[in-house]
Symmetry: C2
Subunit: 117 residues, 2 copies
DNA sequence: ACAACATACAACTAAATGGTTGTAGGTTGT
DNA sequence: ACAACCTACAACCATTTAGTTGTATGTTGT
């Protein structure tokens, strides 16, 4: 494959780690917006907003379609779900810890090979 | 309040935007690990790993407790759930878009005041 | 007491980030 | 045709970040 899961996760979380980008994502998830329309909402240059949109696009969190001279940005809810899914996997690891604690409490004698190295 | 929700979100996503930190978080969610134990898993200096742990700690994604000379790090699953919750809110915004589309399809005459500014 | 160990932090460097201004190209409407 | 508009990108700058090494402090076991 070209980009690993970890590369994608890096891009996702990096894109989400900026409040302006999160706000842009909120808007484009709620509905299509042109880049200039988005830019008018923030106290920074058009180019800065355009770069934020590009970061979100590279991360796969939004897509753009051309309509005449406008670029209409739209949030990709599937990508958002993928990020949430990754967090769900982290939570599953935690549940595994609890399960191991239960094992220990249930069978104090059994050597459960907790540490392997 | 001292730190806004956005500040916390910045810290969360920034902490998660590094693969080493995500891996550390996986390990400490699965069970307590000392900082040196964690450091032995990665091809970088102890200080580098210690800084990654500090970033996760500042973000509230893990907590440390002292036991003798060791600092035992443990993942905070509640914080992970909070991050997932924030993504859920993004998804809800998207569902709002769909709801508005339904409105439009159901009542093509009604002026639904889509844009307010 | 003392050597080995675990952590913490300061100081430094290279690279990435978030912002700026400027320029260039495609689209629209008169 | 042409002016106004929308987008894209390059070049630059200040700050942050991810790594390094070195040093200081506390803990453990003999």
């Amino acid at each position: 494959m070209s980009t690993s899961d970890e590369d994608r996760a890096d891009a996702w979380f990096h894109a989400l780690a900026d409040r302006t980008r999160r706000d842009i994502l909120r808007r484009v998830l709620a509905g299509e917006h042109s880049v200039t329309a988005l830019a008018q909402s923030y106290d920074m240059s058009f180019a800065a907003v355009q770069k934020h949109v590009a970061v979100l696009e590279r991360a796969g969190l939004l897509t753009k379609r051309r309509q005449g001279r406008e670029a209409l940005a739209s949030g990709d809810v599937e990508a958002v779900r993928s990020v949430a899914l990754m967090l769900g996997e982290l939570e599953a690891l935690w549940r595994g810890r609890i399960a191991r604690m239960d094992e220990l409490l249930a069978a104090p004698d059994t050597p459960t090979t907790t540490e392997t190295d």
